[in-house]
Symmetry: C2
Subunit: 144 residues, 2 copies
DNA sequence: ATATTAAAAGACCTTTTGGTCTTTTAATAT
DNA sequence: ATATTAAAAGACCAAAAGGTCTTTTAATAT
């Protein structure tokens, strides 16, 4: 569904948010270990997320990653588009630019509703909502 | 949804099948032009499909690509799996190996039905069924 | 037989994705 | 002040995806 970078970003963000709920500010080493992602790569990805304004960080002792609680919830779609580009999972199944409702490719009629479901999924779910589910013990994040 | 190679393969296969219905055996140049794909790359992909037994070809004058009509219809899933590998669109949205119904990641409940729809889509649709839709004027293939 | 046609084979290249590692900067605690 | 801690910056590398091009092989038509 998503590429590796997006996967690590989503897992990392949700992990940070869960920890924030628990009153903890995790660092790169903890995050990468807990979400089972490559250490340096995860660091680079989190850095990018900070630079893009999705996440906050502080240096030095007691430092780590956290969210600005004043900001609105972060839909997955925002992150995915920031990482994979705006056209992610919005294209035609056959790769045709001209494909649309009036001019459907052979898969269009069946694929369009699926694409719409995906769009809904990433639009409605936010890092915060997923973190709450996780915190409530409903879901796993990793490291079972 | 699919990667480029798969897209070109699907478009090419459907195009060949449509032409076969029309009593024509197209060559690489025609196919690549009509499906709007890179010439040499398309050639290489068709070659692979022939080697994998999904498609037939003949060399020399009057040569080109065609299907063995005795073989059963070719589900898209077969092609996608041959090109992208068996685990295409079967994984967890979060990239977790341990994710399943009993042990769901935060996205699992919502993503699982979407994944199932995709599986149904590629299982039920075949190169032949799509070619028929196209031939009936219901769909576009490309080159509008 | 040979010239022509068209696919097969395979070398090669570029871009993107995924990943590693070292150095620098900034914060905090002593 | 300075030692320590931890993120930021950025150089570097490997694999995969995507794509180009030339040469070889096989079929057909003359």
């Amino acid at each position: 569904m998503f590429n590796k970078e997006t996967e690590y970003a989503l897992r990392g963000l949700v992990y940070v948010r869960v920890q924030q709920i628990l009153g903890h500010k995790p660092g790169i080493i903890e995050i990468a270990t807990e979400i089972d992602a490559p250490l340096f790569y995860t660091g680079k990805i989190l850095q990018r997320l900070v630079k893009m304004g999705f996440l906050m960080s502080s240096k030095g002792k007691g430092g780590g990653f956290y969210f600005d609680l004043l900001k609105p919830d972060l839909p997955l779609k925002t992150i995915v588009e920031a990482i994979e580009g705006g056209k992610a999972y919005s294209g035609c199944g056959f790769g045709l630019k001209q494909c649309n409702d009036d001019n459907p490719c052979p898969l269009h009629e069946q694929y369009a509703p699926i694409r719409a479901s995906i769009d809904k999924l990433v639009t409605l779910n936010t890092v915060q909502s997923l973190a709450l589910n996780y915190k409530n013990g409903e879901d796993i994040l990793l490291k079972l």
